[in-house]
């Protein structure tokens, strides 16, 4: 929610105003839901959760039309029955889970509904074709925003106690045995958003899996591939491998792929090697500096996680 665009903020404001303004309006009649009625409670209680700016962007709808649609949805009084985010109320059906809305392209399906006395037996709502089209665009964004999880936004995830987090960091968590809040973690609270920061600190920031990939070469401008022979960059989270041949020859490098039958790696000079694995040779030892994170997480409580995150957030 911290990254909401101005447009998203405007939408929320419009919806909130609409919800408040329309709450007092007289309800005419209960509309019929396409399936079982949604027993949503009061109008406006869901005003805080709506499609995100990412939903508007990714849905492909015209953001200007969507903005106008939000205004028309509000001014026409739609929210009084269907709710500020169109999820429905006890008097109006859910429009997000509505097949009619899901199938509408330019208002051609919801238009006739809106043009007729609506709800049935009620007053005719005077809307221009443009307004109907805009409302349809706004509704499709609500559908898209509910359905497509890559458009979701985190809420405020900082729920822990920073003092307890600091105590855990320097105590039972043993975080300070490898990390320093004035060293490698200095300023992490400014560098990352809290959800990203929480994910980074618990995982150590890397995924220790490496498959049998086709190599990690360098693409050329014409689509070719150059073998990567640059010396690998070793950080404090880099997984390394030691490979010892039957004759005692030993290599250290970063794994390219390891399975039961082969091992492939690039040594510290950047040179690539691969060996068959036969009868236990070569010996392959993987060193994962993030193993302590893995072990910590098996017993980490959610409170401890939240507290440490709350503490790290303060490291501005």
């Amino acid at each position: 929610m911290t990254t909401k665009s101005k447009l998203g903020g405007l939408l929320l404001a419009v919806m909130a105003i609409a919800a408040i303004a329309l709450h007092a309006q007289t309800q005419t009649s209960a509309a019929t839901a396409s399936q079982a009625p949604n027993p949503a409670t009061t109008v406006g209680n869901n005003a805080t959760i709506a499609a995100t700016p990412a939903a508007i962007r990714q849905s492909g709808e015209d953001p200007v039309a969507v903005g106008r649609g939000a205004e028309s949805y509000a001014s026409a009084g739609c929210a009084s029955c269907h709710g500020a985010t169109a999820k429905g109320t006890n008097v109006g059906p859910d429009l997000v889970r509505s097949p009619l809305v899901e199938d509408d392209k330019k208002g051609e399906l919801i238009g006739p509904v809106l043009s007729a006395p609506h709800p049935t037996g009620g007053q005719k709502i005077n809307l221009t074709e443009q307004q109907i089209s805009d409302i349809a665009a706004w509704l499709r964004v609500q559908v898209y925003g509910a359905a497509m999880r890559d458009t979701y936004s985190y809420l405020d995830i900082v729920v822990g106690d920073p003092q307890k987090g600091e105590a855990f960091f320097n105590g039972p968590g043993k975080c300070n045995t490898c990390h320093s809040v004035t060293g490698d973690l200095a300023g992490v609270g400014s560098k990352y958003q809290p959800p990203q920061l929480q994910g980074l600190w618990i995982s150590g920031g890397a995924n220790a899996r490496f498959g049998r990939g086709r190599g990690r070469g360098l693409l050329t401008a014409n689509g070719g591939l150059l073998a990567d022979t640059t010396p690998p960059e070793i950080t404090n989270s880099t997984v390394t491998v030691t490979v010892t041949l039957a004759d005692g020859q030993k290599f250290t490098g970063i794994p390219v792929s390891i399975d039961d039958f082969h091992v492939a790696f690039r040594d510290m000079s950047g040179a690539y090697h691969s060996f068959d694995r036969i009868n236990g040779y070569p010996k392959v030892e993987v060193h994962n500096p993030l193993q302590p994170h893995w072990e910590l997480l098996k017993n980490l409580t959610d409170d401890e996680m939240h507290n440490v995150t709350a503490y790290l957030v303060t490291l501005k």
Partner: protein
């Protein structure tokens, strides 16, 4: 039944005998001959076990390639399966009937000569709808007709000889975010398919269709409506009617009990619990239904009130076993939530329920029904809840295997964790309503479990991790499995690796069959079929005296 019997009778009178000899019959489905693989799992038990043993633990090292054959889709249908191939991934097992292989990828179906790898026909139709492509599991067959479901929920019947489409009938509305993956199962005169969807809170269901016309015979929703059993586990009908519980995999059938078994998917909204307080039956459950009526006989809920996307839509494997010296009709499932379940398949009563992963942290034990008790503290929350396994899960839809020879249940597993966040605190959340942040994927293994106890008899930890993989076990004391791009043969009793072959992409679940006196091991890696046999020298040339 009567109509079909009459129709069959007419066919018997008028059709040439050669045509009748071709298709799949009830008898073949009940007792598949060695030269067939007429259902997605080879037979109704879903054991993925073959009694063939020409290829066995003494000669598997000589297994070699007979042919490989690559298919090309109508249009790009999946993420690239391998850099050298196209975008097709054949994820389900083919059928093998009368020397022909029949298989699907999204929007595509093929018929292929199993002796040569020659593509005989190719069917293509582009799906519509907003849902992304997934893994289509394959086909069912009856007579000379093939059945499969498209991503956008159309059941298709095509002629197995020519690939010509006979009919296509809608099963669910893709605009509502329904999508489909399941290989249909043919039981008597019912073609049973399932569907569901997580994005916009649907009601998953299975549905029986007439094999001749495609007409709907019955529909069984996996969540109840008011007045039906299980309704009291939902706060209201709106929640239940939008409560999820899709059907993704084929399931199994016991002809003696006349029960069809399958696992249901997780409830909806996926990660938000507040609008569906209660157990949310019959989501994340193992269900037995009468295939003639669609009526439920019993259920067992693997994840009551799931909030982690741990569906129970993994395969349900039928085991005729012995518990405490008594013969028992059992059903086993390694579930996405990390539990291994063995049930009495006559009544759904728990026999075994134990974790098969090392790191499970969400359960507070078993309740009086023998079902896991979820820890509410591990539900998705504003600040995040750290749960093992992650939503990718301890295992998944790639099918496990059970060998009656070894008494071992084989499953591909992974260990991993995720932080589950609630992103919609509304009283009526919609969609997933949360974010799963999967951060760690650790060890991955093949595990061999004693079905009587769930104890791990052997395990093979892959050097670079692994996940759920499709399996095949045989009477030759072999277990075939995939890891990364390798197809690997294990000694089924002790887990020792005996053979492997590097493919171009991750293998699907292998299958085996006899053709012309040879046993074949057939596997797909992405878009390419690989057919392995014990190659023997060609007949010697006859010397010609001059």
């Amino acid at each position: 039944m009567k109509t079909r019997e009459l129709a069959l009778g007419l066919v018997l009178v008028f059709a040439p005998a050669a045509i009748l000899a071709q298709g799949v019959t009830d008898s073949m489905l009940l007792h598949p001959p060695a030269n067939s693989w007429p259902t997605h799992h080879g037979d109704y038990s879903a054991r993925r076990y073959s009694s063939l043993k020409l290829i066995n633990d003494t000669n598997v090292q000589d297994l070699s390639l007979d042919w490989e054959s690559r298919v090309t889709g109508g249009t790009p249908a999946e993420e690239p399966a391998n850099p050298r191939g196209n975008n097709v991934r054949v994820a389900g097992s083919p059928l093998l009937v009368n020397g022909m292989l029949y298989f699907t990828a999204n929007d595509n179906a093929w018929g292929m000569d199993a002796r040569t790898g020659r593509i005989m026909w190719h069917w293509y139709r582009e799906s519509t709808g907003p849902e992304p492509v997934t893994s289509n599991k394959g086909m069912g067959m009856y007579g000379n007709w093939l059945y499969f479901i498209t991503r956008d929920n159309n059941l298709v019947s095509i002629d197995a000889t020519t690939g010509a489409q006979r009919w296509i009938v809608p099963v669910a509305d893709p605009r509502q975010y329904y999508f489909s993956t399941m290989a249909p199962i043919v039981i008597k005169n019912h073609v049973i398919v399932g569907t569901g969807g997580d994005s916009l809170d649907l009601s998953g269901f299975v549905q029986a269709h007439d094999p001749e016309t495609g007409e709907i015979q019955w529909t069984h929703y996996n969540t109840p409506r008011e007045g039906e059993p299980g309704f009291d586990t939902w706060p209201n009908e709106y929640a239940a009617a939008h409560g999820g519980g899709g059907a993704w995999v084929q399931g199994a059938y016991d002809p003696g009990l006349n029960l069809y078994y399958y696992g249901t998917a997780n409830p909806n909204p996926v990660y938000a619990p507040q609008s569906r307080k209660g157990a949310d039956l019959f989501t994340s459950s193992i269900i037995a239904i009468n295939p003639d009526t669609g009526k439920m006989a019993w259920y067992y809920q693997a994840s009551p009130h799931d909030t982690h996307d741990w569906d129970a839509a993994c395969d349900t494997v039928l085991i005729d076993g012995t518990i405490d010296g008594k013969p028992r009709k059992l059903l086993a499932q390694a579930s996405r939530n990390g539990y291994f379940f063995v049930l009495d398949r006559t009544n759904g009563k728990k026999v075994v329920a134990v974790p098969f992963v090392d790191t499970l942290n969400w359960s507070k034990g078993l309740d009086s029904r023998g079902e896991p008790i979820p820890n509410p503290e591990k539900e998705p929350s504003l600040g995040g809840s750290l749960a093992w396994p992650n939503a990718g899960s301890a295992t998944n839809w790639p099918p496990p295997s059970f060998s009656p020879e070894t008494g071992l249940f084989y499953v591909g597993t992974g260990e991993g964790y995720a932080v589950f966040y609630l992103t919609d605190t509304d009283e009526h959340p919609e969609g997933y309503a949360g974010i799963e942040s999967s951060l760690g994927e650790g060890p991955g293994s093949i595990k061999a479990l004693d079905y009587k106890t769930g104890k791990i008899v052997w395990r093979h930890d892959w050097p670079a991790g692994g996940d759920a993989v499709g399996l095949l076990s045989t009477a030759g004391n072999l277990l075939f499995a995939g890891n990364e791009s390798d197809l690997v043969a294990f000694n089924a009793r002790n887990g020792k690796i005996l053979w492997h072959a590097g493919l171009l992409a991750s293998p699907n679940a292998p299958m085996t069959f006899m053709l012309d006196g040879k046993q074949h091991i057939l596997v797909f890696g992405g878009d390419t079929a690989y057919n392995f046999v014990l190659n023997v020298p060609a007949p010697k040339a006859t010397a010609v005296k001059k």
